[in-house]
């Protein structure tokens, strides 16, 4: 029962949900796995923290929530503080290195890999593609989904006319991920 649990966290406006959604879509539609995405709702969430949970599995997914993620994708310090205690021992943290600083709270055996995703996004001309950089970074660093799949998933998820920019962002993140994770 190969199952990977992922939590993506950040601030409203960073495209957290889309990031998680592309990961899920990629696994579920282009990789033939099962994937379940759950997003946090709530008036209390208004305008501040924002997070999503993705479970990717070879088998059908019963329990839909992510309680102890294997992988954390973090785009804000708040998210780091909130979610790091949940990370599985030996888990992986992928973080935006300008927005998140890793302290000593990482669980046993956990690995943290950072990326200056905002800067990359800005270099590409739009801060907004930060989340796509993170998707690429995720794909590159984890090998959970293939480049082909994630490429398709991004193409079919972003607004018409923005494909090129987004694919560039994806590639940037992907390559950086591969490099950093040594994949």
């Amino acid at each position: 029962m190969a199952k990977t649990e992922i939590r993506v966290g950040g601030l409203g406006g960073q495209g957290v949900i889309l990031c998680a959604s592309i990961i899920g879509k990629c696994a579920s539609i282009y990789e033939g796995k099962h994937a379940t995405l759950i997003q946090a709702f709530g008036p209390e969430a208004r305008g501040s923290a924002c997070s999503a949970q993705v479970t990717v599995s070879e088998d059908e997914i019963g329990y839909p929530y992510v309680k102890n993620p294997d992988i954390l994708v973090l785009m804000s310090q708040d998210a780091y503080t909130q979610f790091i205690p949940q990370l599985k021992p030996g888990g992986l943290v992928l973080y935006e290195e300008e927005l998140v600083s890793i302290d000593g709270k990482l669980p046993k055996g956990a690995k943290a890999v950072g990326i200056p995703a905002t800067r990359f996004a800005e270099e590409l001309g739009r801060r907004l593609v930060l989340n796509i950089v993170m998707v690429g970074f995720f794909a590159g660093a984890t090998n959970l989904v293939s480049w082909e799949s994630v490429e398709k998933a991004v193409k079919s998820s972003v607004p018409k006319g923005t494909e090129d920019l987004n694919l560039k962002a994806l590639k940037k993140g992907y390559d950086y991920g591969k490099e950093q994770a040594g994949n």
């Binding site: 008036p43 209390e44 208004r46 305008g47």
Partner: protein, 302 residues
């Protein structure tokens, strides 16, 4: 001097002189920070209300606040008054019951445009008709904030809302006209730009006997202005500033709103009419003579 140093010095001074934001005594401080988004205007209206409370000189124990459901509906929960967060659309009838059961209370209804004019429209009408002694503050942000930005009966024709995904093609209510047509004795509209006027209207409303309707236009950056590329909260308030025209005493039928058009603000109606309870007391006294003891005035109240 760095900014942080500045802040520290401020805090020392505050402590030393026992200074305090004048809104704080009116808030349940253990519930702050509130849930409202950055740039949401609801908090600003709360400041105005606090100012009105101060200026009215009333005893806060004698004031109850009743809200429906919505972002604005959360106001009740933040105010340090007897406060009731009821059901969607039903703040007015709850308030009616509260007022009639405990006539010496001043009962304020504080709720959203959707709450008061969509699902709750009927109660607005009837309370105004009866001249129930309530002050209604309607925070009109042209949308259903709490549920994510659906079209409201107040949404002007034009802007996009989630249930009007290609732009709103419905006509919207002119709330002051409605309240006035039904018999409200005090009707005013201000925006969160007009903080002093809004505070004054609220103070007058608190002191007025009968059905008071105050519309406060307020930005919902998250679901209305940003979605329609109108910028943030502050941009919306600037629009209020630029396009508002003060016309006290304006005929309410001329104060309808359009999408980003002119906004007529002011005190439109201020008249006298016996409240429901006064009418009841007067009528029963006339008909029943001393078999009847006027209600709600036994303890010199009301």
């Amino acid at each position: 001097m760095s900014e942080e140093m500045g802040l520290e010095m401020e805090q020392d001074l505050e402590r030393e002189c026992a200074l305090e934001n004048p809104v704080l005594p009116y808030l349940r401080q253990d519930r702050i920070p509130h849930i409202w988004c950055p740039g949401c205007g609801i908090g600003t209206t709360v400041n105005c209300f606090a100012r009105a409370l101060t200026e009215s000189g009333m005893n806060m124990d004698d004031i109850a606040i009743v809200s429906g459901i919505g972002c604005t509906g959360r106001v009740a929960g933040y105010l340090n008054l007897d406060s009731f967060h009821t059901t969607h659309g039903r703040a007015i009838p709850f308030a009616t019951g509260l007022k009639l059961a405990n006539p010496h209370m001043k009962v304020v209804v504080y709720s959203g445009d959707g709450d008061l004019s969509a699902i709750g429209g009927n109660h607005l009408l009837h309370a105004a008709r009866r001249n129930m002694d309530l002050m209604v503050v309607c925070v009109n942000n042209f949308t259903y904030g709490m549920t994510g930005g659906q079209v409201a009966p107040t949404t002007p024709t034009g802007p996009t809302q989630t249930t009007m995904p290609y732009g709103n093609f419905e006509s919207s209510f002119n709330l002051p006209a409605l309240a006035s047509a039904c018999g409200a004795v005090y009707v005013a509209r201000w925006t969160v730009y007009h903080v002093r006027q809004l505070a004054k209207a609220m103070r007058e409303g608190l002191q007025k006997k009968g059905f008071v309707f105050i519309e406060a236009l307020s930005p919902c950056p998250t679901l209305y202005s940003r979605r329609n590329r109108l910028g943030d909260g502050v941009d919306q308030v600037k629009y209020y500033k630029e396009r508002s025209i003060v016309k006290n005493g304006a005929d309410t039928k001329d104060v309808g709103l359009t999408y980003q058009g002119d906004i007529v603000v002011g005190k439109f109606v201020d008249r006298e009419r016996p409240t429901w309870m006064d009418s009841m007391n007067e009528h029963f006294t006339k008909v029943l003579g001393n078999k009847f003891t006027p209600y709600g005035v036994e303890n010199g109240q009301d």
